[in-house]
């Protein structure tokens, strides 16, 4: 009888526990915006760009403010201020399991206006931090984001990986007039990586 009762109530108890963890994470990341300086390092085949120091400000439901010298490229997903975009969205959360001290969730967006469809999150149980996000978007493919932390709740570094179409280079425009081959995979895609190092992080 006890075994039956345990078998019946255990899943609910575990689910409640996972739900509570996610609620704690949501609270921890709750803010009215974030502003910080970011050192942007871009590794995309076919694109050579010097590292850039920029200032960014994220306020929920507003376009990010990006300031800096010259041309700036900021990845569309995986930035420091975009945790709430996933955590606070109208969504269905599915607990996928545990991996040591890490809880794995799949968040499915229920908001028809959101540009992301699903997000896989890996959250450390002990410090309630999100270490990995795999975000699938409607238009821009998927972005895998690894966060590194020091003492704060917000990361000091994010490594964003993504797949993109190979850069299309028109012949005879602003160049030597020679088509250069950019190595792609079988689907004509290239793998890109952006490393963001944050400093002077302020929660608004």
């Amino acid at each position: 009888m006890k075994i039956f009762a345990l078998a019946f109530f255990l899943p609910f108890a575990l689910f409640g526990q996972q739900d509570a963890l996610l609620e704690e994470v949501k609270k921890a990341y709750k803010n009215n915006g974030v502003q910080c300086s970011v050192l942007v390092h871009i590794e995309v085949p076919g694109l050579k760009m010097p590292d850039k120091n920029i200032f960014v400000k994220f306020v929920p439901n507003q376009k990010p403010v990006v300031k800096g010298d010259g041309m700036m490229l900021v990845p569309k997903k995986g930035l420091i201020g975009q945790f709430n975009e996933v955590l606070d969205a109208k969504s269905q959360v599915i607990f996928l399991g545990n991996d040591a001290d890490t809880a794995i969730y799949k968040v499915v967006s229920l908001d028809p206006n959101s540009d992301w469809v699903t997000a896989d999150l890996r959250i450390c149980r002990s410090n309630k931090r999100i270490y990995f996000m795999d975000i699938f978007t409607k238009e821009y493919g998927s972005f895998q984001v690894r966060h590194r932390y020091k003492n704060q709740m917000l990361p000091v570094q994010s490594i964003i990986s993504f797949e993109a179409d190979a850069l299309k280079l028109p012949l005879k425009f602003m160049g030597r007039g020679e088509a250069e081959d950019i190595p792609t995979d079988a689907n004509g895609k290239v793998k890109g990586r952006v490393i963001l190092r944050y400093s002077n992080v302020v929660m608004l």
Binding site: M49, M71, P75, K76, F173, M174
Partner: protein
């Protein structure tokens, strides 16, 4: 020598044809700036469409530095044509007018006269390149301001605004050197043909053939590239690589120096042995 040079420069700047090329350059640069003002945004949108899928792009993308670079990219084929109009006429006009006979009856060495012609060509080419540089930079930065530039070499390379000016000045210096090589060849042809029209046409013919061979990317032509002077003249573009390949630039500089030396030598030899009574 100084008197000879002064005389040559006086003759050069008295001729209306000396001013044809600068006027053409003014028109071309105004058209490039106008084109970029009207359609530059669309061109960049097309160019950066793939990047926009993954990134927010911020900053002054269409700026004076980009348009200055674009002007140079557009003009590097045309500048030699505009240079040759003047340099190919330097010697042959003396033969055509018969002034060479009068000149050589005076107590001056033929080599001194040739040196004055060569120096005149060097001064003209340098002034012409400075004019192109100042005009393209001045107009574009005045209208569009400054900023980073996008260069399509081996993909997309971004050159920061801080890197632009020194690279632009190096480009101007290298291009002047390249144009001087072409001018030296045209002066030799001018001395050999003794006819301005023939000298201009032959020089342009050589330029067109060399440029065409350079453009063909087929097997056999590919291996010819390092022997084409137009290939080495176009190496100024290497200054706009993120990591400048100095060794390649040095090789091209040595090639152009040797090319110039050969044609300067040939011009002296031809002129010194010329029978002006013919």
């Amino acid at each position: 020598m100084r008197a000879l040079l002064t005389n040559e420069l006086y003759k050069l700047f008295k001729k209306p044809r000396t001013y044809i090329s600068p006027v053409v350059i003014v028109v071309i640069i105004i058209l490039i700036n106008l084109g970029m003002f009207l359609e530059g945004g669309q061109i960049l949108d097309f160019l950066l469409a793939t990047l926009r899928e993954q990134f927010f792009l911020e900053g002054n993308l269409i700026n004076g530095y980009l348009i200055t670079f674009l002007s140079l990219s557009t003009l590097w084929v045309h500048i030699p044509i505009l240079v040759v109009i003047v340099t190919a006429d330097l010697m042959s006009s003396e033969f055509e007018s018969g002034a060479i006979r009068m000149l050589l009856t005076r107590p001056i060495k033929r080599s001194a006269l040739m040196s004055a012609k060569m120096l005149t060509a060097l001064i003209y080419v340098t002034l012409f390149m400075l004019f192109i540089g100042a005009l393209s930079y001045g107009i574009a930065t005045l209208i569009f301001g400054k900023g980073d530039i996008i260069v399509l070499y081996e993909g997309i390379q971004i050159i920061t605004s801080a890197q632009f000016v020194p690279r632009f000045l190096l480009t101007l210096a290298y291009s002047t050197f390249g144009m001087m090589a072409f001018a030296a060849m045209s002066i030799y042809i001018s001395t050999a043909t003794k006819n301005s029209l023939a000298a201009i046409l032959v020089s342009l013919g050589v330029l067109i053939i060399s440029t065409l061979l350079q453009t063909f990317s087929l097997g056999i032509f590919e291996s010819w590239k390092p022997f084409l002077f137009t290939y080495h003249m176009s190496q100024w573009q290497l200054f706009f690589y993120t990591d400048i390949p100095w060794m390649e630039i040095l090789v091209s500089t040595v090639f152009l120096a040797a090319f110039t030396a050969v044609f300067v030598g040939l011009s002296y030899r031809k002129f010194n042995r010329l029978n002006i009574t013919e």
